[in-house]
C-alpha cells in the first residue's frame, strides 16, 4: 500500500488531471495542487469562442475548466479517494472573459464527508480584481460504487 500523504495525493491528482483527454484538448495547465486546493489555467482559443461578435470564450468552456479544477481540488484533499464524479455544479458568470487572455480557476474543497465533497471555485483573467465566474458544487467522495455505468446501461 503506497503512502497517502499530502505529497502523494497531490501527485495522484496531478497524474489524474493530466490524463484527462478533454482537458488536454482545451489546453488546460495545472498550475498548483495540494491540500484540497487546485489552480488550473486555460488559454484563449478561437475554436472555443461562444459569441463571434465579441470573441468571448463560450460559457461551456469555462464550465469545463471549473469542473476539472473542482474535481482536482477534491482528489487532492485529504480523506478522499483518488477519483471523483460531479454530483452538481452551479456556475455564475459575472462578466465576459477578455478575449486573448488566459482564464485561471482556483478551486477549494472546503468540506468532505464520508460520501460527499463540497467545493467552491473562482475564475479570473488578467484583471484579478473582478472575477469572470464563480462555481459551487458537490462531488462524490466515497468509493463511487453507484456512479459507475450499470451493466444495464451498457447493454
Amino acid at each position: 500500500m503506497p503512502e497517502q500523504g499530502p505529497d502523494r495525493k497531490a501527485e495522484i491528482a496531478r497524474q489524474f488531471i493530466e490524463a484527462i483527454p478533454h482537458s488536454r484538448e482545451l489546453g488546460m495547465r495545472l498550475e498548483e495542487i495540494g491540500g484540497g486546493v487546485a489552480v488550473i489555467s486555460m488559454p484563449w482559443d478561437a475554436r472555443f469562442v461562444g459569441d463571434p461578435k465579441t470573441g468571448v470564450i463560450h460559457g461551456g468552456a469555462v464550465s469545463a475548466l471549473m469542473d476539472t479544477c473542482c474535481g482536482a481540488a477534491v482528489i487532492s484533499a485529504e480523506k478522499t479517494p483518488g477519483q471523483t464524479a460531479t454530483l452538481d455544479l452551479r456556475i455564475d458568470y459575472m462578466r465576459p472573459a477578455t478575449p486573448g487572455q488566459r482564464i485561471v480557476a482556483r478551486a477549494t474543497c472546503y468540506h468532505v464527508t464520508r460520501s460527499v465533497a463540497f467545493v467552491r471555485a473562482v475564475a479570473h483573467d488578467d484583471d484579478a480584481e473582478v472575477p469572470v465566474a464563480s462555481a459551487a458544487g458537490a462531488f462524490t467522495a466515497g468509493s463511487g460504487e453507484d456512479r459507475r455505468p450499470s451493466t444495464e446501461a451498457i447493454s
Binding site: 482537458s23 469562442v49 463560450h58 464550465s63 476539472t68 477519483q83 460531479t86 456556475i91
Partner: protein
C-alpha cells in the same frame, strides 16, 4: 385569399436560419453539436468523440462537456425563438443573415447542472424548455439523455440575460 407558402420554401427558410445561427458559434462546431428541427422544436445531438472524455478509466464524458452541451442547447433554444420571430415575420431573409445582422445571443447569468448518471461513450441528446422569457431575463430547463429518453444522464436549469431588441 392568399395561398399558403409551398412547404419547400418554408422548410428551406427555417433550415437556413437555423444553420446560420448554429454555424455562427465556433465552440458548438468544435464540440460537434448538431441541431435537428421539427417545426420550431429543436433537439441537440452530441456525437461521441475521444476528445470529449473526462474519465479515461470508465470511460465517461467529461462533466464540463455535459455542462457545455446543456448550456449550448439552452442558449440556442432562446436564440432560435428570437430568430424564428424575425425570420417568420419576414423582417430578415435567412440568406442575408451575416454576423452583423444576426440577433445577438443571450448571455448566461448562471447555470446549474445535475449529474444524474455518468455520460457513456456514445451519442447524447438534449432538449431545452423555456420556462419563462421576459424582456430582460429568461429561465430555461434542459434535459439530456443517451439511450433511453426516460433515463436522463443530466438535467440543468439556467438564467439568461436577453439582448436588447433595439440593437
Amino acid at each position: 385569399m392568399k395561398r399558403p407558402e409551398p412547404v419547400g420554401v418554408i422548410k428551406q427558410r427555417r433550415d437556413a436560419a437555423l444553420a446560420r445561427l448554429v454555424g455562427g458559434v465556433p465552440y458548438i462546431s468544435w464540440l460537434g453539436i448538431a441541431f435537428e428541427r421539427k417545426g420550431d422544436e429543436l433537439t441537440a445531438t452530441l456525437p461521441f468523440a475521444e476528445k470529449l472524455i473526462g474519465n479515461p478509466m470508465l470511460p465517461a464524458i467529461h462533466g464540463g462537456v455535459t455542462a457545455a452541451f446543456l448550456e449550448s442547447t439552452a442558449t440556442m433554444e432562446l436564440a432560435w425563438q428570437m430568430l424564428w420571430d424575425v425570420v417568420e415575420s419576414k423582417q430578415l431573409d435567412p440568406e442575408e443573415i451575416t454576423a452583423e445582422t444576426m440577433p445577438r445571443l443571450p448571455k448566461t447569468i448562471d447555470f446549474t447542472v445535475d449529474y444524474l448518471r455518468p455520460g457513456l461513450p456514445r451519442d447524447a441528446y438534449a432538449r431545452a424548455r423555456v420556462v419563462r422569457s421576459g424582456r430582460r431575463y429568461a429561465s430555461v430547463q434542459v434535459e439530456a439523455w443517451q439511450d433511453n429518453r426516460g433515463k436522463l444522464f443530466a438535467a440543468a436549469t439556467g438564467h439568461f440575460l436577453m439582448p436588447s431588441r433595439d440593437g
